[in-house]
Symmetry: C2
Subunit: 137 residues, 2 copies
DNA sequence: GTAGATGCAAAGTATTTGCGACAAG
DNA sequence: CTTGTCGCAAATACTTTGCATCTAC
């Protein structure tokens, strides 16, 4: 098991407050990709005094620190996910909103190659697939 | 040369107003990916009476009709681009904001394959590469 | 002539921020 | 102690919408 968010904060010199600990805990326990509102709801159940401004401030801080990553899927609010060693992209079910995480090394390699081709070093990328479930035959 | 936006509107039964004609013209002439504000600025130079609400309404309509496509690049406003037969993705220079359009058939194929693997039919996708220019050696 | 489009300003969302009070290191 | 954080409410940024008027077909 890898570092917890708390450990990452310490490692990166981010001051740990009660609020941040709660937000960290909720994000760690989330297997989905909550938006700020949803995160705020979950956090509020643990400590109702935490304000949504703090949630916004914290996810932004965690994102800048490389603890969380932000997704802006089509036509929705920003959603967050814990960033860990294993990079993956997303396949989104356009009907249900279900999100499937996947990894495809070959696509990763090709992306790097495309960037090189134009004289760039790839520093980041975003790949989202939108699909509809096939009828099981 | 392919259909103009006006022709597409007629083909798709979209009523052509003066405002829409101006917006169509500006988008046709744009080689970049303007956001609504920028589009509104350009449109205003031709007809200053067109309101930004109309610009919003029109890009939305054009998007739904398959005339324009909307991009939500990292941390910015929505940007629009004319949709034509040739699909492409984007490589964004993180320093300058410059956007390079590229096509990579192999990546396209692999995306479809990934979707299939999870039992989905790919209906849409988003691929954005973010890079920094290499020093020319 | 009529359904749909426009302009305006007001209302919605999502997110950020100023400020005085408070807490972590 | 001192610097940075929090909660609150106000502010901002982007986008949508109600309504009366106007226009394309």
């Amino acid at each position: 098991m890898s570092e917890t968010i708390e450990q990452k904060c310490i490692a990166k010199g981010v001051k740990l407050t009660d609020q941040r600990r709660v937000i960290a805990q909720v994000m760690s326990e989330s297997t989905d990709h909550p938006d700020v509102d949803e995160l705020y709801n979950r956090v509020s159940k643990i400590d109702p005094k935490i304000s949504i401004a703090t949630v916004y401030r914290t996810v932004k801080l965690f994102e800048e620190t490389g603890i969380l990553t932000k997704h802006e899927f089509k036509g929705g609010k920003a959603r967050y996910e814990e960033l860990n060693e294993s990079h993956h992209d997303h396949l989104i079910d356009v009907k249900t909103g279900e999100i499937i995480e996947f990894v495809d090394e070959e696509i990763e390699k090709l992306q790097k190659k495309v960037a090189e081709k134009y004289g760039y070093t790839l520093v980041d990328h975003k790949l989202e697939l939108y699909g509809v479930k096939k009828k099981s035959q």
